[in-house]
Amino acid sequence: MITIKGLEKWFEQLHVLKGIDLIVNPSEVVVIIGASGSGKSTLLRCINFLEKFQKGEVFIEGKAVNQQDEKMINEMRSHVGMVFQHFNLFPHMSVLHNVIEGPTQVKGMGKEEAIEIGRYYLDKVGLIDKENAYPSMLSGGQKQRVAIARALAMEPSAILFDEPTSALDPELVGEVLLVMKNLAKDGMTMVIVTHEMGFAREVADRVVYMDEGVIVEQGTPKQVFDLPQKERTQSFLSRVR
């Protein structure tokens, strides 16, 4: 479970998050939507402490994480996976090596066990036949699926997705979304920042609409997409449709 309380963040003078409160329950799929610059990616990065924030608190599994405590942050990160827009696979490592790097280096798992787990998750994202390939040999969609397997191999309690399909060619988006749908079905806790409204409607348990650093409105996909209460939400949805 992830709990965010009164989170505020400034980049220099720019107030990008103006008091965010959000609870993500176990097995819940929360999709954050909003225009560019609304602060949605920054919020996601704050949950993983890739961005430091000035006010508020983030609780992971009920524990308040101290931003100054590197050890605690590292421990927390090993429980919360992250998938990036630009994949960020390690180019000097094979696909399997990418996937087992976390378990072996962070959890101290033995190589054989890690390989077994790595292969299990590569199979899950449909790339077991690519384990010896290097990232440069893969398509964008395949790279992102490896990145998802890399996050899964840490067996995290939640995974954060930062616009996972935004850097993909249109014809490659589907395969990544399919993997994510299956994860949702398996009960993985997910927080997803995306522009894929169709996907949000289909997979989200809850949709959160953000604008100018605040959560404007949230609810089930039906509530937010079909009966938006706030004018800002209505105008955003009319623009993206």
Binding site: F84, H92, M154
Partner: protein, 219 residues
């Protein structure tokens, strides 16, 4: 004036001890430079002023003054303080000089690795140090290799400046022999041959390393 081709062969053996000295000065100078360079690069990218400021000052001074001046300066100061031999001073000077340049090569290479690589590693729960060692440095080293090769070749040729502090390496040997047998051009030709031989080996070696690394996964 005639050019004596025979002298090239006749005097060749006299150069062998000098050729060895050039190797020794260059090898230890480059090794010291590489270690200093890597440490300085880390200090340079550190956000802590205790590390950052001295490394910037070091690079500022070394890049802003001639190597010959540095060799002479270290020779006189190290001799009077630690009673160092000329040979040690030459190695230290070459190492300190190249350390500054190699630091900038490493710094550039490390910073050229996308921020996302560090973030991906950290998001798995790795410490900064582990992410650096496992993820960033292997990629940075690979990217630094062409520039490092270049710098090593420069360092090898720069070892000739150690002649100014009585190190009988190739250039000083050529000058001394030339002054006594009046075949200066021939002697300089022999010295040039050795430098070309050494730099060819470097070029070949670095080419090998580059191709080998580009086969095993590309960046």
């Amino acid at each position: 004036m005639t050019y004596d081709f025979r002298a090239l062969i006749d005097f060749f053996p006299y150069f062998l001890p000098a050729a060895w000295l050039t190797i020794v000065v260059s090898f230890f100078g480059i090794a010291l430079g590489a270690v200093l360079g890597l440490l300085t690069a880390f200090a340079r990218i550190s956000s802590k002023p205790v590390f950052n400021l001295p490394s910037r000052f070091y690079i500022f001074v070394i890049r802003g003054t001639p190597l010959l001046l540095q060799i002479l300066f270290l020779y006189y100061s190290l001799r009077s303080i630690f009673n160092f031999e000329a040979m040690t001073s030459a190695i230290v000077a070459l190492g300190v000089h190249n350390g500054a340049y190699i630091a900038e090569i490493f710094r550039g290479a490390i910073q050229s690795i996308a921020v996302g690589q560090m973030e991906a590693a950290r998001s798995l729960g790795m410490t900064y140090r582990k992410a650096m060692v496992r993820i960033v440095l292997p990629q940075a080293f690979k990217r630094a290799i062409p520039s490092l090769g270049n710098q090593f070749i420069i360092a090898l040729k720069d070892s000739s400046l150690a002649s100014a502090i009585t190190i009988k390496e190739l250039l000083l040997k050529a000058q001394q022999l030339g002054a006594s047998n009046f075949k200066m051009m021939e002697m300089l030709t022999i010295a040039a041959f050795f430098y070309l031989f050494y730099t060819s080996i470097f070029t070949w070696l670095f080419h090998k390393i580059e191709t080998k690394l580009s086969v095993s996964g590309s960046a």
